[in-house]
Symmetry: C2
Subunit: 117 residues, 2 copies
DNA sequence: AATATATATGAACACTTGTTCATATATTAA
DNA sequence: TTAATATATGAACAAGTGTTCATATATATT
């Protein structure tokens, strides 16, 4: 029995290609996944998340701790907040930021395991 | 006993700041971590990794499967290979790509868990 | 009310990144 | 050797991103 080879594939039968595509997460999910990882793909944001993992902090303390300008930090915090990785809580003049999600920690650790291997 | 407040911090004592900094992974590791996540921060690369998770594939099949140009794919494969997330194996004219590292899968799954929550 | 403090934001800019196009390299077939 | 196939790569370009600078907003203090 001759294998039915789709004209566009080299080694995959059309059936195999379909099965493969079906077993992959939907495109839309993969796009969201890339967007999630974009949040961790900048060293400033990674350092922010790493610090907030230890304890909640206000903007100026974070800035001092990381050696980043207040403005740059504020911009990044906004991005992290929109992505719902970080939340804020006002106490008078000061706003405290903390991790919004326990998943952040596990994603973080997974990555560290790989980097340290 | 008065708290010794470092002039540069608002709510952190100098001691707290030191402890916090000490408990964070070293800067250099955080930079590597960001670089690792950069690999997952592009939808084309995520889709490549997702496909290779199912099975090893040659460049043209991958291109057809994902609907990406051969050139674009080749460029991305080079990037993934340099990052040691992917490896290649030649068989005559054809080069098969596969995941280089089992960590890739776990990083992937962790992210999916978060996206799907 | 005026001032000081803490944070946010818009615009501009430099830098990075992913794709395309054209072409190069490598292997196989004729 | 020549032609065909599979993959790689350099240059150019468009789009995206992170920072800075100046300024705005919000709260507290005097």
């Amino acid at each position: 029995m001759k294998k039915e080879l789709s004209p566009s594939f080299l080694h995959l039968t059309a059936a195999q290609a379909r099965t493969l595509a079906k077993n992959m997460p939907p495109e839309e999910v993969l796009y969201e996944l890339a967007d999630l990882y974009k949040m961790f793909a900048d060293s400033t944001r990674v350092r922010i998340l790493s610090a907030l993992q230890a304890q909640e902090l206000c903007v100026l303390d974070l800035a001092a701790l990381l050696g980043v300008s207040q403005s740059a930090l504020s911009h990044q915090l906004r991005i992290l907040k929109q992505a719902k990785l970080v939340k804020s809580q006002r106490e008078g003049k000061i706003i405290f930021y903390s991790l919004a999600d326990s998943h952040v920690e596990s994603i973080f650790k997974q990555g560290l395991d790989h980097v340290r291997e």
